[in-house]
């Protein structure tokens, strides 16, 4: 599904954000990317989501080489992904429903079909009762759930989350992680960058640990004693 081969990323006038990173992620896997801040987690996710292109090495997504992709093909590549950001990137000039509709509009889904799918996505993150509310009136956790609904509404095969729990307290974070697990269980490839271990699975999951742009270990996480509420969903 996703294959990195000797990938190096250097931002202009800067150090190497990633150095010779090689790994692969199979379809349906749940992978955590960990590391201190500035270790290159975000860069790694941006390379996967075709937001950045590698300086050297190859990034293969679904057997397509990102570096060789034409500019006009990039948008179609991005539609394979659902993206969740630490700062949500919600649009505050429209209500929750319209926020979640945006990816479907981009995909050219007809409005009848879109309405059904938006409600289904909002239902999955328990926000159906807030569809008419403005995002600014939601709590941090609710906003992040809304962002997840928006990321999954177009049914992407890969869900990428950059520090989705970064700004949230423990119980909200547990909620969010539970939602990601639920998507993983229905076969979605989930990649989560995080600096805390809170949400990691009880079961063994793969962890890519970055240290100053170098992939230091591809480890299986030890089961953690996570709070049981995690799997409420």
């Amino acid at each position: 599904m996703i294959k990195f081969d000797q990938v190096t990323k250097r931002y202009p006038g800067s150090y190497d954000a990633l150095k010779n990173v090689s790994f692969s992620i199979e379809a349906g896997e749940l992978v955590f990317v960990t590391g201190h801040s500035g270790a290159g987690k975000s860069t790694l996710l941006k390379l996967i989501a075709a937001i950045e292109r590698p300086t050297s090495g190859t990034v293969l997504i679904a057997n397509q080489n990102i570096s060789k992709l034409k500019d006009s093909a990039i948008p179609y590549m991005r539609r394979k992904f659902g993206l969740v950001f630490q700062d949500h990137k919600l649009l505050y000039d429209r209500n929750c429903f319209d926020n979640v509709t945006l990816p479907l509009r981009i995909n050219g889904v007809s409005s009848n079909e879109a309405n059904k799918r938006v409600r289904a996505a909002l239902d999955k993150v328990n926000l159906l009762h807030k569809e008419k509310a403005m995002p600014i009136s939601l709590s941090g956790g609710e906003q992040q759930r809304l962002a997840i609904a928006r990321a999954v509404v177009s049914r992407p095969s890969i869900l990428i989350a950059d520090e989705p729990t970064g700004n949230l307290d423990a119980s909200y974070a547990a909620d969010i992680m539970a939602i990601f697990h639920a998507f993983h269980q229905v076969g979605v490839t989930v990649i989560i960058a995080t600096h805390d271990a809170l949400g990691m699975s009880l079961r063994q999951t793969r962890v890519l640990n970055l240290n100053h742009g170098v992939l230091t270990q591809v480890a299986l996480s030890e089961p953690l004693n996570a709070p049981t509420e995690v799997f409420k969903l």
């Binding site: 948008p75 179609y76 590549m77 649009l91 945006l102 981009i106 050219g108 007809s110 409005s111 177009s154």
Partner: protein
């Protein structure tokens, strides 16, 4: 096809919603466009109407033939016979010097100024004159007819009454060129104004554009709503311009009808015709589209997501 249609319908829907949300600024930009288009439109109509008026006068193909002052009455009859033979002449009318003198004097008496210079004249200064209607209205033919009439013995001067109208219509042609340049300059100004407005809108929609790009929106998806915004600005501005022009003409026509009455004419300014209507509308829409096209391409090219 369906996807394409859907995309455009959604874009139009979005733009109209945004405009509804910002009624005041939309109204303002439309007014700017309307006024800017109204000015050359009105000038054009004014010149157009004047040239119609002069054309109308040129159609009255009358030649005035003034005989020499010292002619006897026989000369007038001789000239009259010569005119009767000329096949180019539809009909002619003789006004003798006495008739003309009487007319002039009676006019002077009815006039308010009793001591007018005419009343002080004690001798008839007027010649016999023929007023000739030609069969042709072609300016060149008229000119040959005029010079042939000039050749008739006893004729002092043959005057084509339309000379001044011809000169005026030439002047009006210059006027039309001036209008063209005014219109071109205003179009350039509009292009910049609309471009700037759309650029501002792009800035206010920056978040949406960024998020849309992250979700795989194509450039055309991002561009289309802004292009439609430009098109709608043009459309509404153009309609406003047409409405303003119609208003102005209606107001002017009331005064012009009064003046026309004084001249026993039914002349009035013509309303906007369909070709003119569509020219204004289409050029407005085109300017709107072009302005936003430049703005969008410049802004989106420089747009970096992070």
């Amino acid at each position: 096809m369906n996807y394409w249609l859907n995309h455009h319908i959604q874009a139009i829907h979005l733009v109209l919603k945004r405009m509804q949300y910002n009624v005041l600024s939309t109204l303002m930009i439309c007014t700017v466009i309307g006024v800017a288009l109204c000015i050359p439109g009105l000038f054009y109509l004014g010149v157009d109407n004047l040239s119609k008026l002069t054309n109308h006068m040129q159609d009255e193909t009358e030649i005035s033939l003034f005989l020499k002052l010292d002619n006897s009455n026989d000369t007038a009859t001789e000239v009259g016979e010569a005119l009767a033979k000329n096949t180019l002449i539809k009909h002619y009318r003789l006004v003798t010097k006495d008739e003309a003198w009487q007319q002039l004097k009676s006019k002077a008496e009815t006039g308010s100024e009793a001591n007018s210079p005419i009343a002080q004249l004690n001798k008839n200064p007027l010649p016999d004159a023929f007023f000739i209607q030609s069969k042709t209205s072609d300016p060149a033919d008229l000119e040959t007819l005029r010079s042939s009439l000039q050749e008739i013995p006893g004729v002092e001067q043959a005057l084509l009454n339309t000379e001044w109208a011809k000169r005026l219509s030439l002047l009006l042609q210059i006027g039309k060129k001036v209008i063209f340049f005014i219109a071109a300059l205003l179009a350039l100004a509009l292009l910049i104004i609309i471009g700037n407005t759309v650029r501002m809108q792009i800035l206010t929609q920056k978040d949406e554009i960024e998020v849309s790009k992250l979700m795989g929106a194509t450039s055309s998806f991002i561009r289309t709503p802004f292009l439609y915004a430009g098109i709608f600005y043009g459309l509404f501005g153009g309609l406003l311009a047409v409405a303003m022009i119609t208003c102005v003409i209606t107001i002017f026509n009331q005064s012009i009808a009064q003046i026309s009455n004084l001249y026993n004419s039914d002349f009035s300014l013509t309303m906007l015709n369909y070709p003119m209507f569509f020219t204004i509308l289409i050029s407005a829409i085109f300017i709107g589209w072009l302005g936003s096209y430049f703005a969008v391409n410049r802004s989106i090219a420089g747009f970096k997501i992070n």
